[in-house]
């Protein structure tokens, strides 16, 4: 009856070990030591998440959510971070409420959605979950931490989808947000607007489609207005998010060096501890956001593909747990976590490979850093919990 999901636990352990090896190679034994401390905290929270009775979690969802909102407000007032208010500096490590928010938001959304048997595209169905997610995303956006706030969107979409909302409706729901983001840059907005228009005119009735287009245009036009209200440096930051290549010595330098590291690894890599890009300091943040570049440099295409396969297996396992369990709430929690982890993996590696904009996002279980490791392991813990009680 109570059986641990060996595949999920196994892939997790494998990724953690790879992470430790990579941190040792890219930073120093000092960082490795600190990561081991975080790991012990992570293991503890994994075990807690795994063995806490589900009913307790279910019952605590609102309190947990409320606490998260409070912390997110407090961090805006008391928090620190580079040009932002992102974390509380607590002695040896920085605590990021936005990381915690990922867990609590998933739990309360799962609770709310699991009441509903049927999902429709109407105000009654969607007002609730949207009302839950908006304050969290807004508070994180105010920090400002654009990339973390965006990470809530695929999670939200995945939950709605799993609960039965048609993909077309999910798209319609996201039109305001996506239009607003795309509106920051004309190069994004024109293709986005074209594709949306084609889809809605093909799939919806004429007046519905017209309404969708109108909404899209409105929010799309809102962003230039919003941009004009910002200060120069804030505008520059948003611009550089969409076009990092405009800044070759800042963000551009990082991404160029990251691609050189990955590309020069070629098929077999330069060998463990032998990455010259990494060793000689050409890679910035090499033990945190850029750690995949180090792995790809030292282990080459073979190592990188193996890492991708392990991540694929981990996420697939999460999806499978959600599919197998009869407990709707548990399934939704697992799907939400799968979406968050998947988003991190794809966006982090995608940015290092130069196919996505550069954002400060970690590679789950691999990157150096307490918050990310502990939160991801807690998610895995919840998923293991769901898996154990699925039959």
């Amino acid at each position: 009856m109570k059986k641990i999901d060996i595949t999920l636990l196994g892939t997790t352990c494998l990724l953690v070990i790879i992470g430790l090896l990579a941190i040792y190679s890219s930073a120093s034994s000092q960082y490795l030591f600190r990561q081991l401390i975080f790991l012990s905290i992570g293991i503890t929270s994994l075990l807690i998440a795994c063995f806490t009775p589900r009913r307790l979690i279910y019952g605590m969802a609102e309190i947990f959510y409320g606490l998260t909102l409070l912390l997110l407000i407090l961090v805006l007032i008391f928090g620190s971070g580079p040009g932002a208010h992102r974390w509380f500096a607590i002695r040896i490590f920085n605590f990021q409420p936005s990381e915690l928010a990922k867990i609590s938001t998933v739990i309360i959304l799962a609770k709310y959605l699991s009441y509903r048997r049927k999902m429709d595209f109407d105000f009654k169905t969607l007002a609730g979950p949207t009302a839950i997610i908006i304050p969290v995303v807004t508070l994180i956006l105010l920090e400002p931490d654009l990339s973390t706030s965006i990470s809530f969107l695929p999670m939200y979409a995945a939950l709605l989808y799993w609960q039965g909302l048609r993909p077309l409706y999910i798209l319609l729901l996201f039109i305001p947000v996506l239009s607003f983001i795309a509106g920051f840059s004309l190069y994004f907005w024109i293709p986005f607007f074209t594709i949306i228009s084609i889809i809605v005119f093909l799939r919806l009735r004429f007046f519905q489609a017209l309404a969708a287009i109108a909404t899209s245009s409105f929010f799309g036009l809102l962003s230039p207005v919003f941009l004009s209200l910002l200060k120069d440096y804030q505008r520059a930051r948003i611009k550089s998010f969409f076009a990092p290549w405009l800044d070759p010595h800042g963000m551009g330098w990082n991404i160029i060096q990251s691609q050189i590291a990955i590309g020069s690894g070629r098929i077999f890599g330069k060998g463990y501890l032998n990455g010259s890009q990494k060793r000689l300091g050409f890679l910035p943040n090499r033990h945190t956001d850029f750690i995949f570049s180090c792995i790809a440099e030292e282990f080459g295409l073979i190592g990188s593909i193996i890492l991708l396969v392990i991540f694929g297996l981990l996420i697939y396992r999460l999806l499978l747990i959600a599919y197998k369990t009869r407990d709707q709430n548990g399934a939704l929690i697992t799907i939400g976590f799968a979406a968050i982890i998947g988003y991190h993996v794809f966006v982090n590696i995608g940015m290092l490979l130069g196919i996505l904009p550069v954002t400060g996002i970690t590679l789950p279980l691999i990157s150096y850093g307490g918050s990310s490791l502990v939160v991801t392991m807690t998610m895995i813990g919840f998923a293991l919990n769901v898996a154990m009680n699925s039959e």
């Binding site: 995945a158 799993w162 590309g263 020069s264 010259s276 790809a296 295409l301 991708l308 999806l319």
Partner: protein, 576 residues
């Protein structure tokens, strides 16, 4: 439920495949390129400058070599404004000059040379302030050294920092490279320069050297080739000592049988070492405002009227054209020769003279009379045969061809038919528009001495590379068809000049010298003193020309110098 799982798995797989495809693109398709970029990142190619070839005299005495020095470089990405400000004070150079050197900054952090040949005192100060000078690097370098300083400034010339114009002509040089500017240094630049070597070191992202690179072998430099000059250092030094007491003077001596230049001195001169360090403005201003023009090579660039040293050539022409015989006696000299309504002066009243006597006593009246008989083009053509009015093609730059007037020249200068035979009277005593260089006169007299042939004068005997001779200058011979009997009369006369005539001051007991004095008028300034001769008179080896500007009579001033040089050359005896 199953569809949804399938669809999510499909999305997952698609996303992973996108990443995988991009990985394949970066690591396989473009892997080679990125590997190269990665190497370019971490491997710094460091230039190991080749030492410039050495320059020796004919006996192997070192005249130019290299000595160790220091060069200051900056890693632009490592340094900061306060370091640059401090450095500009320590180096005593304006800060914007240092900044200009750092443009354009390359993407890869690498040191850029900003100042070469920095003195030890400055280096000591920089090392003291090391901690306040991030990104400032001191490296050992080598630089040209001229141990005899001024002595060879007009022969060897000097090297200096490359100009932008020179750089645009030859891209194989780098900014701050030293390049030959004058003399042997510029003419033999391609031999002296050598080829720079490279070593490879591994550097980190901040441009700091980590250590040598084992997988890439250094390319050793090829030192510049050694040049052996035809110059005899001791003779050069002797000549220098003899003329440097005058304000402006020059000496040229050549080996008659080869054309080798044994000494070439021009005074005043300059110390070529000053061009290696940043120029001291005071020193520089003193040099360029000096009225005697120390950069001017009086031995080859300055064309003077030859004065009476020209007379033997006119006499030879007269004999060759059968205008006179050696025994012809023209009108006696009473100090003045009337031609038309003009009176031409002689420096004395010589009475009745034949050709020998006229040369011996340097009688103008005799040559005025020849001037009435010789056509200007005949003279010009004859002079050209001996190389006068033409470049000798000596192997250093700045040569003057001199001037031998002919019909065309006079037409151009005075207008058609606006000149008369009267001009020839002046030309025949080596005055007027007849202009020659000291080098040309040594060539002319070596031709007399040889009996009708001379060699192109040259300064480089051979070039050696790693003990192997790669180039030997072959003497280039020019023949002049002359009746030997006529020439012998002239040679005879030249010997008598020193024995009994105006050149007695050149006389030596042990060696017979043949030669001719000259006193070139240079109104309104005092006359230039000439003496040109060769020795030994019966079996000549060396021809020497001496010009002392504004020093008066050649017989009194220039002749003894030639005497001393000949004495020195044949006896190796230092001056009393």
């Amino acid at each position: 439920m199953k569809d949804r799982l399938k669809r999510l798995c499909f999305i997952l797989t698609t996303l992973l495949l996108i990443l995988g495809a991009r990985l394949i693109q970066l690591q396989i398709v473009q892997g080679k390129r990125y590997a190269r970029l990665s190497d370019r990142n971490r491997i710094r190619k460091i230039v190991v400058p080749a030492p410039r070839g050495r320059i020796f005299d004919r006996n192997g005495i070192l005249l130019a070599d290299t000595r160790p020095t220091w060069t200051i470089a900056i890693i632009p990405t490592e340094t900061n404004d306060s370091a640059l400000a401090l450095l500009s004070i320590l180096l005593n150079r304006p800060q914007n000059e240092l900044l200009r050197r750092l443009q354009p900054v390359s993407e890869v952090p690498a040191p850029i040379d900003i100042l070469r040949n920095v003195s030890f005192d400055v280096i000591a100060k920089i090392e003291e302030n090391n901690f306040r000078l991030p990104g400032v690097i001191v490296r050992v370098d080598h630089i040209r050294n001229y141990p005899f300083r001024n002595l060879y400034s007009h022969v060897i010339g000097y090297v200096g920092e490359i100009t932008e114009e020179e750089l645009s002509r030859d891209s194989s040089y780098r900014l701050l490279d030293y390049i030959g500017k004058t003399g042997i240094e510029v003419c033999y630049e391609r031999f002296l320069r050598g080829r720079d070597g490279y070593k490879y070191v591994e550097v980190d992202a901040r441009g700091r050297e980590i250590g040598p690179l084992t997988e890439k072998r250094p390319e050793p430099y090829l030192p510049g080739k050694d040049i052996y000059l035809t110059i005899d250092h001791n003779l050069q030094q002797t000549a220098y000592n003899l003329i440097s007491k005058y304000e402006r003077a020059a000496v040229v001596a050549i080996a008659i049988n080869t054309g080798e230049i044994l000494c070439l001195v021009s005074f005043p001169d300059f110390d070529p070492n000053i061009f290696l360090a940043p120029l001291d403005p005071l020193q520089w201003n003193a040099l360029i405002s000096n009225k005697s023009k120390p950069f001017y090579n009086r031995a080859i660039s300055s064309a003077y009227p030859p004065g009476s040293t020209f007379k033997p050539l006119v006499a030879l022409l007269a004999l060759e054209k059968h205008l006179i015989t050696p025994h012809t006696q023209l009108l006696p000299c009473n100090g003045i020769f009337q031609y038309g309504n003009r009176k031409f002066k002689c420096w004395s009243a010589h009475g009745r003279l034949n050709l020998i006597g006229a040369i011996e006593q340097s009688c103008n009246v005799f040559f005025y009379q020849l001037g009435t008989k010789i056509k200007v083009d005949t003279l010009a053509e004859f002079c050209h045969k001996f190389g006068l009015g033409k470049y000798t093609n000596i192997d250093i730059p700045g040569e003057n061809a001199g001037n031998i007037p002919d019909h065309d020249f006079l037409d151009r200068r005075y207008g058609k038919n606006k000149w008369t035979q009267g001009f020839m009277l002046n030309y025949c005593i080596g005055q007027g528009e007849v202009l020659v260089t000291a080098l040309q006169l040594t060539q002319l007299y070596s031709c007399f001495a040889n009996g009708g042939f001379y060699f192109r004068p040259y300064l480089v005997a051979k070039i050696e590379s790693a003990g192997r001779t790669i180039l030997i200058n072959k003497p280039q011979r020019f023949e002049v068809e002359i009746n030997q009997t006529n020439l012998n009369w002239i040679k005879n006369a030249l010997t008598r000049v020193v024995e009994y005539g105006t050149g007695q001051a050149a006389q030596l007991q042990e060696i017979t010298i043949a030669g001719k004095t000259g006193t070139a008028q240079n109104p309104p300034n005092p006359d230039h003193a000439w003496f040109v001769g060769y020795a030994p008179a019966d079996n000549p080896e060396i021809a020497i020309a001496v010009i002392i500007e504004n020093a008066g009579h050649g017989g009194a001033v220039a002749a003894p110098i030639v005497g001393e040089l000949v004495r020195y050359y044949f006896t190796k005896r230092t001056l009393p």
